[in-house]
């Protein structure tokens, strides 16, 4: 798919508009080079209005990350409500994340905001994977003896690596292929054979 204009969700408030504008600015210029003036221009608000919502560029960037994390959590909840098993939710969440990851990657790698922000984000990703693996264990999807905590750490590293590689070699189409590689490596060794046989490791047909 050619990179077309991103569909921007309906802007309901100044704050939302500022976050959308900031995400676009950080995505294009990175954290260090992006300017508050540019964010204001894009959002069509004054600097005064921006500072009414966000005390600094860092606060704005953290809010962009928090909004993205919230959206990913909503995606996870939606997937869970669709009655998929935890492992299928994990697979599908990995693909869903892929659609909005660029600005997050830029704010945490390339031109990172700060270590404490990065640590918190990575902690959240790891907790999400760990919780899904724990539910999978609880629902009997996992093989006996799987070290859930160690797997969560390693799976997050694998996913981050795939995304960084695709960002660096500018190969967005390769991500889905590589993600399915991650799942084909990990799932047979952690899922019970009959559970693995029923999983779909390729991307979902429709956007979730």
């Amino acid at each position: 798919m050619p990179p077309g204009p991103r569909t921007i969700p309906r802007v309901s408030t100044t704050r939302d508009g500022l976050l959308t504008a900031a995400a676009a600015a950080f995505d294009r210029d990175g954290y260090v080079r992006a300017t508050i003036d540019d964010v204001c221009d894009r959002a069509g608000v004054t600097k005064g209005a921006l500072y009414g919502h966000f005390s600094s560029k860092k606060a704005l960037a953290v809010a962009v990350l928090d909004r993205q994390a919230r959206e990913w959590a909503e995606t996870r909840d939606r997937l869970q409500r669709a009655n998929r098993g935890p492992l299928q939710v994990l697979v599908d969440l990995g693909y869903a994340v892929n659609q909005d990851r660029a600005v997050v990657q830029r704010l945490l790698f390339q031109a990172p905001i700060s270590d404490d922000v990065a640590e918190r984000q990575v902690g959240q990703w790891t907790a999400t994977v760990r919780d899904l693996l724990r539910s999978a264990a609880f629902q009997g999807e996992l093989r006996p003896g799987v070290d859930v905590d160690a797997c969560a750490d390693a799976v997050v590293a694998a996913l981050v690596g795939v995304h960084l590689m695709s960002l660096a070699v500018e190969d967005p189409a390769g991500v889905a292929r590589q993600l399915s590689g991650v799942w084909r490596t990990w799932l047979p060794t952690i899922a019970r054979p009959e559970v693995y046989a029923a999983l779909r490791v390729t991307p979902p047909r429709r956007r979730v």
Binding site: D153, A154, A157, M165, A168, T185
Partner: protein
């Protein structure tokens, strides 16, 4: 620069000083003046070797790349099979991300500065090539299950290494633990069953 040996010494000194200062104050927080001061050379002498701070950072990242090749050569010299060499190489580079200043600063520059756009692509591709090469040798040595897509395996292994190193520099955590878990799971399908007991997924101690 009449004396080439002196020139090379100055260049090496500048790179070493930058590594130390980038490690202590970060890339953004290090000025070219500070680099010059720390080894008592003039700005003019620095500019003869590096036109910009970015050029200096590129030299640091190249030092880090060189480590990959040195460590690979070191393990290849020990006579373990190619698959164990690959496992040990990834563990050592993971460990060096925390303990070796050049690797730590190189990884940090690569992932968290403007150098990402310049150099990360090249580095990732050369890493994939190195992994593919060792996997190819492992296939030839009969260590790897026949019929595996070694390109896909190499991509996956390289991604796990990159992800582990990147997470170590931005958020802490031990890359060696992550890689050991990765190898334990990956060897299940990668290694020929008869060879699996001869492979160690964890890092060498010491």
């Amino acid at each position: 620069m009449n004396d080439p040996a002196q020139g090379a010494r100055t260049r090496a000194g500048l790179v070493a000083a930058s590594i130390e200062l980038f490690d202590r104050h970060g890339y953004e927080g290090t000025s070219l003046d500070a680099v010059c001061r720390s080894i008592s050379v003039t700005k003019g002498a620095l500019y003869r070797h590096f036109p910009s701070k970015q050029a200096l950072a590129v030299a640091v990242v190249e030092e880090h790349f060189r480590r990959w090749h040195e460590v690979r050569a070191e393990f290849e010299g020990t006579g373990t099979g190619p698959l164990q060499t690959l496992i040990d190489l990834t563990h050592r580079m993971g460990a060096l991300t925390r303990t070796d200043r050049t690797v730590r600063v190189g990884v940090r520059l690569l992932f968290t500065s403007e150098l990402f756009e310049l150099l990360a692509g090249v580095h990732f591709v050369s890493l994939v090539v190195m992994v593919r090469d060792l996997l190819g040798q492992a296939v030839a040595a009969g260590e790897v299950r026949p019929g595996l897509d070694t390109r896909e395996e190499a991509d996956g292994i390289a991604a796990a290494v990159i992800g582990s190193q990147a997470l170590a520099v931005i958020a802490g955590g031990d890359p060696v633990d992550r890689l050991a878990t990765m190898w334990r799971h990956r060897l299940e399908h990668l290694a020929v069953p008869a060879h699996r007991p001869h492979l160690r997924a964890t890092a060498l101690v010491g």
